[in-house]
Symmetry: C2
């Protein structure tokens, strides 16, 4: 019996083959997470400062919007001349992950930061998570060479970079860590890089928020009703609407992208035309509420009834802006679409407006990126643990109802969302 | 271009092949979740009432502990005579999931409830999650037949039952839902049953807590320090200790189980001998703090310094109790071990005692069941969103350092925890 006990514990073998390797592994990733996290978090902070400056400057100088086609040409020309190797953005990171071919070019980081700030300076409608993720991935992949990392470690280092970028730009470390594990394959999570993701997300968030004091907008849901059966049943139709809105957004972005690619052959011209269209509509309707990040409207959606069509207008503006080749990302517009749609739904669904806005905020994002757990954690980090079941169930239903669509065309389907869609397993969303 | 737009939206095909099937799917699982959730939640409530009664009765009549061998014989004999088909408990659910052979016998539910209440009535040291999960799985699997569900749906229905049981016994719906998705394979999560799991977990928690007013103990971490880099670095050694404690517990339970099986041939005799040993030690050391669920000590661990050896004593008592064939589960003892170990570590690690107790509470559980995301969510549900990074990183580090061990011997390794352990991929934990 004693022998069996010794056998079970295998103390020596445990120490040499599990404990010490795990310690070394933890130490290695701690060092990498500190280096990469501080770099990415710092980059995020300056990116956020730049965005704030660009937004204020544009709001103070409305004529900037008339120059959107000029800004578009700048972005288009710079990417056409220097950025051919990085133009696929987030999808490029996904493709490198599935099928590692070439290091992520470092230029991805400065180009996307420049492109995003220019987009916002001239009044395009876009977000910032693409920028964060691409900055994170490109910076992190430097360490593959410097630390002579193998293929498996390279995947972990890119995951760490993505987690770091996402966490620091939104100020949500847990959501960032889980996002980097969850966005890789639709319907699956794998834990190979779970420690690097958590460490990188935290360090980058620390660097951005606590060291550089970059500001994250607080959102408030003042009252969260009891989780009665009836209240929970109301989450389902709300979640369905959020999922359909996510699908509409993904399809619209894909449509404008393909329309510009097929009709305008010279790439730098695409954002010129798209920019002229966006600027024309802004002057026609006489409001700037649908351009830029749209944070003020997101905050309003938690507080006061808004026009019902806000989410549609934002979908149109953003998919046109991004489809034409402007830079930034989709997530903050998705927050906007979700929060305003939730705001609108509070006319029909007997849940508090702020709660519906908060549910939409994360659930449309969940449907469009196929990352329900990360979005649930983001909801908890932004709105508190009491909102947990509301945001969690809304994210899951939206994930289900966005179907096999999403803003990352290269995302591979691991677990089909519905048994009738089994034929799509292993395919890329963009190829369906 | 318009044609392409129509192509992209595929409105009709979308409605018939995605939207309507998703609606029907949601409706089907909503109905199943309401039925199963109400049943499982009600069963959990009465199980919790029974446990409370048994604990109070034992505390009021200390002589019950002397009768532990008698109680042990009762449990052993009943399982030997009527329970051969359900004696593998949680592992049986896992094995049915990997390799569906026979319906989970309904008797699993009453037998495990009887066994657990008897274990606690006579003063064994055990938990309740095994009971919850087995009740949930056994009740849910009835619906496979009643609703004529196919093989895939059966997996989802068992997942729903497990989520319902776990969520309602601990009062943590999000942790319950994610646990049911996460416990199946070490290092992997799959979303096939994500909607059934979330719906079932919520409904069962509602039935248990809001309808039947079963009581869940509140735990309080009054002060959570800022997430400075130094504070976060201290999470790592704490997480390592929690992971090693989880490993020790898993190995000790496995050891006692094998020792009793190999030395005592007549199964009903095993809990008699084990019960006599436990009772003898209780009278020898003159305290009942290591038997039963141990909730008062868990609460104390958040409030006041405790003896350093509490976690070891609880590990010994519980692994002996369960290894001898008593029933209940491991999770509440794991909470106890983690909280008291965290309490002890607060002597060496400069973080607040209550925070370390809370981190240990979920992290030892994470290491022993290999479910870091579920445990992170449980920490957030119990202690609030502010504790998120502390509990999250502690759960991840503990998950890593428990190595390829765990309390569910049938759990299959999907993603090895360390590249040097790649040879273990696809194997069961209990077969290493």
């Amino acid at each position: 019996m004693l022998e069996r006990a010794r056998d079970l514990i295998h103390f020596k073998r445990f120490v040499t083959s599990e404990f010490v390797p795990s310690l070394l592994y933890t130490f290695k990733w701690l060092v990498l997470a500190i280096f990469i996290g501080l770099l990415v978090g710092t980059a995020s902070a300056f990116f956020l400062f730049g965005l704030e400056w660009a937004t204020h400057f544009r709001e103070a100088h409305m004529y900037m919007i008339a120059l959107l086609p000029v800004g578009g040409f700048m972005i288009g020309w710079v990417y056409y001349t220097y950025g051919e190797s990085v133009v696929k953005g987030n999808n490029q990171l996904l493709e490198e992950f599935y099928n590692p071919l070439t290091p992520i070019p470092l230029r991805m980081a400065p180009l996307v930061v420049f492109g995003t700030i220019a987009t916002h300076l001239f009044g395009g409608s876009a977000g910032r998570e693409g920028t964060a993720v691409q900055m994170g991935g490109a910076i992190a992949d430097r360490f593959t060479k410097w630390f002579k990392l193998g293929a498996l470690d390279r995947k972990a280092v890119i995951t760490l970079g993505v987690a770091a970028g996402f966490a620091s730009v939104f100020g949500t470390p847990l959501a960032g860590a889980v996002f980097a594990l969850e966005w890789l394959i639709v319907g699956r999570v794998r834990y190979e890089a779970i420690l690097p993701a958590f460490l990188g997300a935290y360090v980058a968030d620390y660097a951005c928020a606590d060291y550089w004091h970059a500001h994250h907008t607080p959102y408030d849901i003042p009252f969260i009703p009891d989780l009665t059966l009836v209240n929970v049943l109301w989450i389902i139709p709300a979640g369905i609407c959020f999922g359909l809105a996510a699908r509409l957004f993904s399809k619209a972005t894909q449509f404008f992208g393909e329309a510009f690619r097929s009709t305008v052959k010279y790439p730098p011209l695409r954002p010129v035309i798209g920019g002229a269209m966006v600027a024309a509509v802004v002057f026609l309707i006489g409001t700037t509420k649908y351009i830029g990040l749209g944070v003020p409207t997101i905050v309003e959606a938690f507080e006061t009834p808004l026009p019902w069509y806000d989410f549609l207008a934002k979908t149109g503006f953003t998919s046109l802006t991004l489809g034409a080749g402007f830079k930034g990302g989709e997530v903050t517009p998705l927050f906007y679409i979700g929060a305003t749609l939730g705001n609108m739904l509070s006319g029909a669904i007997p849940l508090p407006m702020a709660l519906l806005a908060g549910m939409g905020f994360v659930a449309v994002f969940s449907g469009a990126t196929n990352t329900p757990l990360s979005c649930t954690l983001m909801g908890i980090e932004l709105f508190g643990a009491e909102s947990g079941v509301y945001v969690g169930l809304a994210c899951v239903v939206a994930y289900l109802f966005s179907g096999h669509s999403g803003i990352y065309g290269s995302q591979v389907i691991g677990s089909p969302k519905h048994v009738s869609l089994d034929r799509n397993k292993g395919k890329r969303l963009g190829k369906l």
